[in-house]
Point group: C2
Chain length 236, copies 2
């Protein structure tokens, strides 16, 4: 291969393969190697989204999660895992497309690679439709407009902090629900936002679950479900 080594973070969007961009498709077509993140033992969601657009026979490299998030970044074990990745491919002057759910630099695992390798190799990032955009579009919920302050909150925050920040937000998205849902629900109720909060699971997929959070009878939620608090409705 004669092209220079290059690392490309490719956003493939929130789940519906049709929400991939033309630029992402081109990057997948042109890359020597396609890498993707996955939890050890699980299939990669990003790869499933992009599957229809991979070149037959393209070299694929799974990057297992412990490589990028569960080992502290200055650990020797971390460095040697990452080194194996770029030594094998970037140093061989290959272009490596790392496919990422949603947008690579918005709460994505890719940014760990990017920050470490950007000083040594040319890098490019291809923006993608975020998971949250996919969700509010599927619901048809105008999320923010005009002079709204819009805030993304992880459900992992302490309950009093969630409450304080929700009280201060015109529009919000709450991520990382899972077992945090009861706490999130209480914080929304106390701030008067529960009445307009929407619960969304797998927003852009055929098996999407969408309902008013107030109508959800149980507190079972996957970690990747999100709650939308549209700003528009709060003011109308």
């Amino acid at each position: 291969m004669s092209a220079p080594a290059r690392l490309i973070g490719v956003g493939v969007g929130p789940g519906d393969p049709e929400l991939m961009t033309l630029k992402a498709l081109r990057a997948l077509r042109e890359a020597d190697v396609v890498a993707h993140f996955a939890k050890a033992g699980n299939p990669s969601k990003a790869r499933a989204i992009a599957a229809g657009h991979l070149r037959p026979g393209v070299a694929e490299v799974p990057l297992l999660y412990p490589v990028t998030t569960e080992i502290p970044r200055h650990e020797p074990a971390y460095c040697s895992e990452i080194a194996a990745f770029y030594d094998a491919h970037l140093d061989a002057r290959r272009s490596v497309a790392v496919i990422c759910e949603g947008d690579p630099l918005f709460y994505g695992s890719y940014m760990h690679l990017h920050v470490r390798l950007a000083a040594r190799y040319p890098t490019e990032v291809i923006a993608g439709v975020t998971g949250m955009s996919g969700c509010w579009s599927a619901v048809g919920a105008p999320i923010a407009q005009g002079d709204d302050v819009f805030t993304v909150l992880p459900g992992t925050l302490p309950e009093d902090e969630l409450e304080r920040r929700l009280r201060d937000a015109d529009a919000a998205v709450i991520m990382k629900l899972g077992r945090n849902l009861p706490k999130v629900r209480r914080a929304l109720a106390r701030t008067g936002h529960l009445v307009r909060a929407m619960y969304v699971e797998r927003g852009t997929m055929k098996d999407a679950v969408v309902m008013r959070l107030a109508d959800k009878a149980d507190d079972c939620a996957p970690y990747f479900a999100i709650v939308l608090v549209p700003g528009w409705e709060g003011r109308s």
Copy 2:
């Protein structure tokens, strides 16, 4: 036309036509009518992005800004303008694709139409890459990760409120700069964020302007320029 009337908000992304999604392309190909927002007398930016994908000869309807934002929503003048739009097309059982810069329901003019017409006609919203995603990707700035709280702030906020909210944010994007830039700069300096704030104009275009805000010698900024305050760097 035999398909039922349908209103489709089509996100065409932040500016680079390659950041359009496959779904947006299909919607433009299938729609009977393509509508777009523009300031009276100015070309539509959304239309410029989508220009290469419009069917030759497709019916086009410009929606001038006063229609959707400068007339209060319950004014008779507003209602009659909007009525002219949907009477002519949706009532004639045409499918109307409204092309929108970025993502239709994220600070977009489309949501005005959507909220008014969703009860009367079938609607669909196609998520797009937001302007801010386009900017942080162009800059290669990991914007938020892990348990970061991410906040979008309009530069129009009072200076003390900007300062208070910046102090409370791990990661932030400040929009609507223009003549608000001196105020935004002071609020960033007082909260210790100026050192990592990036200034971006036309992020995904060939003539993009990208620099550290601290290095920007003047306070001239277009209204649509944005400032990025990446969360990642704040913690590393």
